[in-house]
């Protein structure tokens, strides 16, 4: 492995990541080969697509549609199921040393526990709890993430069943107070927090057929449009907790990533940004962050993390 840009390295939980950038869940996370390619492109860690107990085909198309300043998606949690995901993670591990985070979802608190325990067999570096997918309302009702008690219960249950593997709860900005939700997660044993999931949901209507375009009618909004919401969410969370935050939502440039760090994020998620910048986004943002640190005479990101609060 080649040494890359050592001064943008970060300490995240007990890991040393070569870059603060983490592939966000939902993008290019279905197979070991795809995840390895993103790691090779410069990500400090990669997150799988959310998996559940059984394979799911998700929704028919259109399921991902670019709109002005963002992206709408309602993929419907398509995934190969936890058994297959464990195999992909093992295959990834055999070929790649970049840390891998596995995202999971469940329909009930118990199911979250079951999936987490099954995923723990693969010994991922972190398990991320997707309590905030906005696109499966008809099946699962409103996301757990909007309900502070449900989020707490899931965090507690998963923590009991995964042993020493760290967990991060992926929060939604669609709640009364993301700071309070984060605090409760920390109290229940969460090791980290990921914020935010897509927001909305939003809708796109075609003028000729006069119908919503997404097959699910509406879908979560991601991309540049949601960056300010994500930065604010990370800011609020950072005031309430001392566990690390993966600041995710609308990051496409080094400046965006640095805003997340200043707001208090330890790591920075990249998802839809791959659409805007290609896989080169990881190198570009890494280089931009590095350049910023050099220009300001800073040794590492630790020196600026959360300093926007001061």
């Amino acid at each position: 492995m080649t040494e890359r840009q050592t001064d943008i390295e970060i300490e995240f939980l007990h890991m040393r990541l070569c870059s603060p950038l983490v592939l966000a869940s939902g993008v290019l996370g279905l197979s070991s080969s795809s995840l390895k390619r993103v790691a090779d492109a410069g990500a400090g860690a990669v997150t799988t697509k959310s998996c559940g107990l059984e394979p799911r085909a998700g929704y028919v198309g259109p399921s991902i549609i670019p709109v002005s300043h963002g992206m709408l998606n309602a993929v419907g949690l398509s995934n190969p199921g936890v058994k297959e995901m464990v195999r992909e993670v093992a295959d990834y591990r055999a070929r790649c040393r970049t840390p891998i985070f596995v995202s999971i979802f469940g329909g009930t608190v118990e199911e979250f526990g079951d999936v987490a325990e099954a995923v723990a067999q693969a010994e991922p570096d972190l398990i991320e709890l997707n309590v905030s997918c906005p696109n499966v309302y008809s099946e699962f009702g409103s996301p757990f993430g909007a309900d502070i008690d449900a989020t707490a219960a899931i965090t507690r249950r998963v923590k009991q069943r995964v042993g020493a593997i760290p967990i991060s709860v992926k929060l939604t900005a669609n709640c009364l107070s993301i700071g309070q939700t984060a605090k409760v997660c920390e109290q229940e044993g969460a090791d980290a927090l990921t914020a935010i999931n897509t927001i909305g949901p939003g809708m796109l209507i075609d003028l000729n057929v006069r119908k919503p375009v997404l097959s699910n009618l509406c879908g979560g909004l991601s991309g540049p449009a949601i960056l300010p919401v994500a930065v604010r969410a990370v800011w609020e969370i950072s005031r309430e907790v001392s566990i690390p935050i993966i600041g995710t939502g609308g990051v496409t440039t080094a400046e965006d990533a640095l805003q997340m760090i200043l707001a208090g994020a330890t790591a920075v998620g990249i998802g839809s940004g791959i659409y805007y910048q290609g896989l080169e986004i990881f190198d570009k943002v890494n280089e931009g962050v590095q350049r910023f640190l050099q220009e300001k005479g800073l040794g590492s990101l630790d020196e600026i993390r959360g300093t926007a609060h001061e």
Binding site: V27, L28, G29, L30, S31, S32, S33, S34, L35, K36, R37, V38, K49, P55, R56, A57, G58, V60, G61, P62, S63, I64, I65, P66, V67, M71, V75, S78, N79, P80, G81, E84, L204, D206, L207, N208, V209, K211, V213, S215, G271, S272, I274, Y275, G278
Partner: protein, 261 residues
């Protein structure tokens, strides 16, 4: 080019044979042969289709009824609005003195390529194979070129497999490039023959390209992990060498690859 959704009325429909039609739309984008679009039937689904021609702003998509979605397209008519996103992916690069090998409806992108090659006065031989006469598209148009056809049942052209005819043609002539598109079993044989004679190839592959914009991961190929929708669908031998899943059953909508039982 628009990766956003736009809907257009169908301007023209041609029925080549039962269950095999071309649909035409006026477009404001430009495309190269080998690129594809995502076609949306409102209220039904969205699927990728290669472009079989684009000239003077008129986009042509050729569809064979093979499943519920393509069956549904057969009942679409003049004036119906369908959604088109694209064009997506990397297409064919133009090379002089080429052999084009198409299998069934897979010949559609090669027909677009042949038109561009002819316009640029390049030399080429076009070889098409199909199960039966009804599955051969554009035969009248293609017969103005150096065109050879095979059918498995012998109802049109020479009886047999297209790869057998390819073997005969390659024994006689040498080519600077082989372009191919069709069923994967055929493509594997085409690649073997090309490699045996050290002829470079450009081959169009098919996977479930769900989003078309390199995000969903459904079309990522095992091995190098390339995203077929943005890094393909046309791949050269260098790209193919890094892939380990050619010839295996494709991953389904869940992302599972069916395992042999």
């Amino acid at each position: 080019m628009s990766e956003k959704m736009s809907t257009y009325p169908i301007r023209r429909v041609i029925e080549h044979s039962p269950g095999l039609k071309s649909f035409y739309f006026y477009q404001d984008f430009d495309a190269v042969p080998g690129q594809f679009i995502e076609l949306w039937i409102p209220g039904v689904d969205e699927k990728p289709f290669s472009i079989s021609d684009l000239s003077d702003g008129l986009l042509e998509i050729s569809v064979k009824a093979v499943g519920p979605f393509t069956e549904r397209i057969m009942s679409c008519d003049l004036g119906d609005y369908l959604g088109v996103r694209g064009p997506f992916g990397r297409g064919f690069k133009i090379v002089d003195n080429a052999l084009l090998v198409g299998g069934g409806i897979g010949a559609a992108p090669l027909r677009f390529l042949a038109r561009v090659l002819a316009r640029e006065e390049k030399e080429f031989v076009f070889l098409v194979g199909a199960k039966s006469k009804e599955d051969v598209i554009f035969s009248r148009e293609l017969s103005k070129y150096r065109f050879y056809c095979t059918t498995e049942d012998g109802s049109f052209g020479r009886p047999g497999l297209v790869t057998e005819e390819m073997e005969r043609i390659m024994a006689k002539d040498s080519f600077a490039c082989i372009y191919a598109s069709g069923p994967e079993a055929m493509l594997i044989r085409v690649m073997e023959m090309a490699e045996a004679r050290s002829v470079p190839f450009q081959i169009s592959f098919e996977r479930y390209m769900k989003c078309g914009i390199g995000l969903c991961g459904q079309c990522c190929m095992d091995g190098s992990g390339i995203r077929l929708c943005v890094d393909g669908p046309v791949l050269t031998q260098d790209a193919v060498r890094g892939i380990t899943e050619i010839g295996l059953p494709h991953r389904d909508a869940t992302g599972c690859r069916p395992r042999p039982t």
